[in-house]
Amino acid sequence: MIPILVMVNVITFVLFFSINSPDDIARAQLGNKHISMQQITDWKITHGYNLPLFYNVKEQGIERVVQTLFFQKTLKLFIFDFGVSDAGRPIGQDISHRMWPSFILALPSLIIGLLVNISFALLLIYFRQTYLETTGLIICIILMSISPLFYIISGQYLIAKTFQLLPISGYEPNFAAWRYILLPVIIGVISGIGMGGRWYRTIFLEEANKDYVKTARAKGLSELKILFGHILKNGMLPILTGVVILIPSLFLGSLLLESFFGIPGLGSYTIDAINQQDFSIVRVMVFLGALLYVIGLLLTDISYSIADPRIRLS
């Protein structure tokens, strides 16, 4: 787990610092083209970019490794010391402010999305080998062929502009946030049905073809009981894996939704940072994303052993 995070840091470090030297960052931040070397050096000193990349020959002992850009800029992330952005704002503080809107948006999207997808998939299984299933599958294919941008743009146009049911974009803290969150959540859920519905259907279908389902049916259990008591219960295990894979994609979804709906969360923070070429923020976000993923992996392993006692953590 830790080696993965270190590796992630090395990759992002190489990406940002070997191709873009600190001089280039200084030039990009200072803006104009006619700047003296002195200005660049000053900027580098104030923002802590004046150190060598991996190995500092001027220092003694352990300081030779500590007083380097790699240590200062990336390894400090492990103790959640995010430092200051290139524009001069403390990143840690920004993130703790912007975390909550992101969280309020992402969590309902994930949970409602899961519920909707699973119930859609169960419906498809319930009506299997009928015209309803075929229609449902065709709808799935159509839904997953539509660009996510289309859902956002048309949703904003129809619900917010034409019928004026909800605000187009914006955000308010605390409970007033629900009016601004509702539309993005709905759009997020709808755009996920196509993929999710089919994915869960294959999982349930595999379970539905197993022998214990036939036995249950032979015993005379009703279809509904088989569906919820057997298929759903046994299908939960592969679904758990799927949820972890969803976490990074949730990041992408939020990235788009937040910037379209003007929600001041981490996604729009990242997009702003990209537009301003503020690499320190992007670096921190990459680290946080990787951290979330790794935590997700760990959680799956743990939940596996809880859901299925045959699996032991080694």
């Binding site: 993965i4 159509i142 062929s145 990459v286």
Partner: protein, 444 residues
């Protein structure tokens, strides 16, 4: 000769890829696997989807044959890099409008102030493209009738040609969905001839903010989408296949290392990894802009770099699937038997294991192709996609996203970008669905 052939980097790769595909198909045409793929054509929807995909591929191929203009003529200035598609659309391109116009309109969408005898009036100016038609003595009804006749005539004669050419084949192989084939042919031919005959007198899908013909822009975008998808696959496949099969077959240290690499790569949220790499390379290109003399070369390099990055970041999921399948196959009796008989490892991998993971590879590749087309629009919106000067659906959507807020609404740029994208992705998804039923019945 007023044109001279010109090769962009992505063109070369694209034609190389086409060449490889044709050779592989030709060499493998007798195998059981290929027969299975061919049997998807018994299904009506698969045949229809495949024909639509081929129509898109044709547009992309036409647009990948580039020329430089040696001697400037009335349509193109000297030194410009154009493609066959540009030559087909030279008349439409020459009639550049000022700003928005509705599909099939004869006047601009916005009114202009005109001084007439000292009085200021607001008029809707005539479009450049329809001036010749409106000035001539032919009435609009006659004109449209004439166009309809030309279109129908062209469609029917070409269709007759196709019908006669396939006549024998149809008698030999009656299992294919021939009726669907003919209906789709008629529809595609009709669209093609409508575009060819009317694009010189109408903007079929209107014009955008700066007066570009939307249909032309949408068709040009096909190349970007297809190239992005195919070159990404070309880059991704070797990684996924070699690492996946290697990790699954040898296990042990090699497996641990490869697993570590792909877990690391997939731990970084793919969007952010792509963004980070594109940003870094963007700055690199900007700093070394002397390498790339022309704007089109720069845009082309950026397209290639985007493919490279997408390829390097997206092989992990396929690699994981191939590894899992190889792990299973390794224990099968025929592989064990080959091992006992002393077959070299590489030979086992490519004789016995590779053919059995091929169906997974094929399905994933085609599915990822459609995913990448959708992802391009998103990435371009975020600002790390293709170059802003490249024609792409993402750029169209990005440019047009505020237009729905206007009153009256300007809907056609968004409409055409989304529908062109939708049709291609839908066709691919439908085809994959049928293909999966045929190749991998357990998972469908």
């Amino acid at each position: 000769m007023s044109y001279q052939p010109y090769f962009l980097l992505t063109d070369i790769i694209y034609f190389f890829l086409l060449f490889i595909c044709i050779i592989i198909i030709w060499r493998c045409r007798q195998t059981r696997f290929f027969q299975q793929i061919k049997s998807t054509l018994y299904s009506r929807k698969a045949l229809c989807a495949l024909m639509i995909i081929f129509a898109y591929l044709t547009v992309a191929t036409l647009d990948s044959i580039h020329f430089t203009v040696v001697k400037s003529n009335q349509y193109f200035s000297k030194g410009r890099v154009i493609s066959v598609l540009d030559i087909l659309f030279e008349k439409t391109q020459a009639k550049h409008e000022k700003t928005y116009s509705k599909p099939l309109a004869s006047h601009l969408f916005t009114a202009e102030k005109v001084m007439k005898n000292g009085i200021v009036t607001w008029v809707y100016p005539t479009l450049n493209i329809s001036q010749a038609r409106l000035k001539s003595s032919v009435s609009t009804t006659d004109f449209i009738l004439r166009k309809i006749c030309m279109t129908l005539g062209c469609t029917l004669s070409l269709f007759l040609l196709v019908y006669l050419l396939t006549f024998n084949l149809r008698k030999q192989k009656p299992y294919y969905a021939w009726r669907t084939f003919y209906i789709t042919t008629i529809i595609l031919l009709m669209f093609a001839s409508i575009i060819i005959f009317t694009s010189s007198d109408y903007h079929l899908l209107g014009t955008d903010k700066v007066g570009n013909d939307i249909l032309y822009v949408s068709l040009k975008s096909v190349r970007t989408a297809v190239l992005l998808g195919s070159i990404t696959m070309l880059i991704m496949l070797p990684f996924a296949i070699f690492f996946g099969m290697g990790a699954g077959y040898w296990g042990g240290k090699i497996d641990d290392m490869i697993q570590f690499v792909y877990t690391t790569l997939s731990a970084i949220p793919s969007v952010l990894l792509i963004i980070a790499s594109v940003l870094a390379l963007q700055v690199f290109i900007e700093r070394h802009d002397t390498f790339f003399s022309t704007m089109i070369m720069r845009a082309d390099i950026r397209l290639f770099v985007l493919c490279l990055i997408l390829g390097l970041t997206s092989w992990t999921s396929l690699c994981r699937v191939i590894r899992a399948e190889t792990l299973k196959l390794r224990e099968l009796e025929y592989v064990q038997a080959a091992k006992v008989m002393g077959t070299p490892n590489l030979k086992i991998l490519f004789r016995h294991i590779f053919p059995n993971v091929l169906h997974i590879i094929l399905i994933t590749v085609i599915l990822d192709f459609s995913m990448i087309i959708l992802a391009e629009a998103v990435l371009t919106y975020v600002g790390v996609g293709v170059d802003p000067t490249t024609y792409s659906w993402g750029n169209m959507i990005d440019a047009a996203r505020m237009e729905l807020a206007r009153t009256p609404v300007v809907w056609w740029p968004l409409f055409s970008a989304f529908s062109f994208m939708f049709i291609l992705v839908l066709a691919i998804n439908i085809y994959v669905d049928v293909l999966r039923d045929k190749l991998d019945p357990r998972n469908s």
